[in-house]
């Protein structure tokens, strides 16, 4: 198996699993969000990697530029970054309100207060 040639993919998968694990395992809401962001970012890396060619340039039609990197995945990811930022903003806003009403951002603490 070609480990070095697929370096970017390995990094994307490692990041993806790290983020996913954080979302599942952490009980602090902020840490969960950090995990979620990491998870989304790994997908960005996956997209950009698939468009990149070693030595490829931006698609400029001119003598001297022959090997092009596909710009479409990068453009798609610009949109996905915007989505990810918006998600973080909504999540943080909800966390702020949770902290205001419950006085905590720990999940087990919040559950305990709901049972009272």
């Amino acid at each position: 198996m070609d480990v070095v040639g697929h370096f970017n993919y390995w990094v994307a998968i490692a990041l993806m699993m790290t983020g996913f694990y954080l979302v599942i395992a952490r009980s602090n809401l902020i840490k969960k969000l950090v995990g979620l962001n990491l998870f989304q970012t790994s997908v960005f890396l996956l997209y950009i990697t698939m468009g990149k060619i070693t030595g490829g340039t931006a698609p400029i039609v001119k003598a001297g530029f022959e090997l092009y990197t596909n710009p479409l995945p990068s453009v798609l990811i610009l949109t996905a970054i915007v989505v990810s930022v918006a998600t973080s903003a909504v999540a943080l806003a909800i966390i702020v309100r949770i902290r205001e009403t419950y006085g905590s951002t720990e999940e087990d603490e919040i559950l305990r207060r709901d049972r009272e």
């Binding site: 998870f39 997209y47 996905a80």
Partner: protein
């Protein structure tokens, strides 16, 4: 000119109206604006359905960029039907919203509430109408982000934690779809759905496509709350504002089912999904489990909104079941049930919104004796409830009929029996409510209540009436569903 651009207007009108709605500082003004927009969208959806039925598939090139490169809006019978469901429910729920949110949302936040509502509405329509896989993801996130905000507006503080959980699981679901779409793009170099389905045939056997399929199915499963990925749904529907429970229950999960159907049948194709991959078995097993487990859990709920939320999980199980049969009749069942379940769950949640508006509670202990005090509201609840059970002469019967037909056709007798048995469970939990409302005296010291205000009652009765009417006159629903199902299965009419 306008007629040619209807597919674009279907999205552009609600999407642009959302930021305009923020500028309206008055809650009545914002409400009137939102109602007008939903009705315009409904009129466009009706016009589009009529055109699709007479002329066939409409293909619209956004900004005149030719199809595989630009974003194509592609409307066939399937998504014309879903557009009709979403806009129809939106147009009925919006008029009730002004009175409906009085008790739940402070007046100064009402314009922001309507903005989020319109954004969610526009996002759901966008998912449905687009013919581009990446565009679908973007609209999915637009509608989901607005829904998280709407759920978080609920009056109970647990709405916040429910919204956060919905956000985490919803984002994971959407990102799974994004991964799947990325892998598809990697293998085929296209994002256009029609183009994808043509090019996928050549690379079907590769592991990348198998992985993409798995990611997309799990992602769509999270979005449509397919058991056991439904964990976000009960709390989100229980604690969100009542009007939003009605809107989301009737539209958001339905659009999730649409996304699953679109990917499975249009993009991956029947042969790949059901022969190469074991999707049929998976959906049959989890669909049946959903129908039983969620119905049994629903029986033990005292909060009626939570009861209906679990019942939604069970009904979504039936829809998954219908897809799992991979036959024309199974698909007709799913598509008809999409429409019918939107009507009956809309009616049920709207009836609860009326009850909450008067009582400030939807607990089964508090609604005792309500049948006499709010007769019209409870009548609507009963109409929706018996539809849910699937008694003859209601819409629920029609969809159950096709599910049972598909099961028998596939030679799966036990499943046909199981469908009927799980319907009996619905009878128990709806029966509990009817028993409390009609056969028990009001709790001592209960404050006098009167019927809900007309702006709320009229849409509730309209939805309840429709859930009876479309049980008698099935020409529209079954007609469109049959045409759509045959097209999806590749049967020549």
């Amino acid at each position: 000119m306008i007629a040619a651009n209807l597919p674009a207007l279907q999205i552009v009108v609600p999407l642009l109206s959302a930021p305009l709605c923020v500028l309206l500082r008055d809650r009545r003004l914002a409400w009137g604006f939102a109602v007008a927009i939903t009705w315009i969208a409904f009129a466009i959806a009706v016009a589009l359905l009529a055109r699709v039925m007479s002329e066939g598939v409409i293909s619209y090139e956004m900004g005149n960029w030719a199809a595989p490169w630009g974003i194509e809006y592609r409307i066939d019978r399937l998504n014309a039907l879903v557009l009709l469901i979403v806009t129809g429910v939106g147009a009925l729920v919006a008029p009730a919203a002004l009175r409906g949110i009085e008790r739940e949302i402070p007046a100064e936040r009402a314009p922001l509430f309507f903005t989020a509502f319109l954004l969610s509405f526009a996002g759901l329509l966008g998912i449905t109408i687009t013919g581009d896989a990446f565009n679908l993801y973007v609209f999915l996130e637009i509608s989901s982000l607005a829904s998280y905000a709407l759920v978080a507006l609920g009056p109970d503080r647990r709405a916040l934690t429910a919204a956060y959980r919905y956000l985490v699981l919803g984002t994971i679901g959407a990102t799974f779809i994004l991964i799947g779409v990325g892998l598809l793009y990697m293998m085929t170099g296209t994002l256009n759905m029609a183009d994808l389905s043509a090019r996928l045939v050549a690379v079907n056997e590769t592991r990348a496509i198998h992985v993409a399929f798995a990611f997309i199915i799990v992602g769509a499963g999270l979005k449509l709350a397919l058991f056991p990925l439904h964990m976000w749904l009960p709390n989100a529907y229980t604690f969100s504002p009542s009007i939003i429970s009605a809107f989301l229950a009737a539209t958001a999960t339905k659009v999730g089912v649409y996304v699953l159907i679109r990917f499975v049948f249009t993009i991956f194709g029947v042969a790949f999904s059901f022969e190469e991959m074991p999707l049929g078995e998976i959906l049959l097993v989890f669909g049946l489990l959903a129908a039983f487990v969620a119905s049994i859990v629903a029986i033990f709920q005292n909060n009626l909104k939570r009861m209906l939320a679990y019942s939604s999980v069970a009904q979504l199980g039936y829809m998954a079941l219908g897809i799992g049969f991979a036959s024309v009749n199974g698909l007709i069942g799913t598509l008809v049930h999409l429409f019918n379940h939107a009507l009956m769950k809309g009616a049920l949640f709207m009836a609860l919104a009326c009850v909450f508006h008067r009582l400030g509670s939807v607990d089964i202990g508090d609604i005792r004796g309500l049948g006499r005090r709010m007769p019209l509201t409870m009548a609507a609840f009963v109409a929706g409830g018996i539809s849910l059970v699937g008694l003859p002469l209601t819409v629920g019967f029609i969809s159950k009929w096709y599910f049972v037909l598909a099961a028998i056709e596939a030679g799966l007798w036990p499943i046909a029996v199981a469908i009927l048995a799980s319907s009996m469970l619905a009878l128990i939990y709806i029966g509990r409510v009817i028993e409390a409302a009609y056969f028990q005296p009001p709790p001592p010291g209960a404050p006098p209540v009167e019927e809900a205000p007309w702006p709320m009652l009229a849409p509730t009765l309209a939805l309840a009436g429709a859930s009876i009417y479309f049980g008698l006159d099935t020409e529209l629903t079954v007609g469109v569903a049959r045409a759509a199902a045959e097209a999806l299965m590749g049967v020549q009419p």
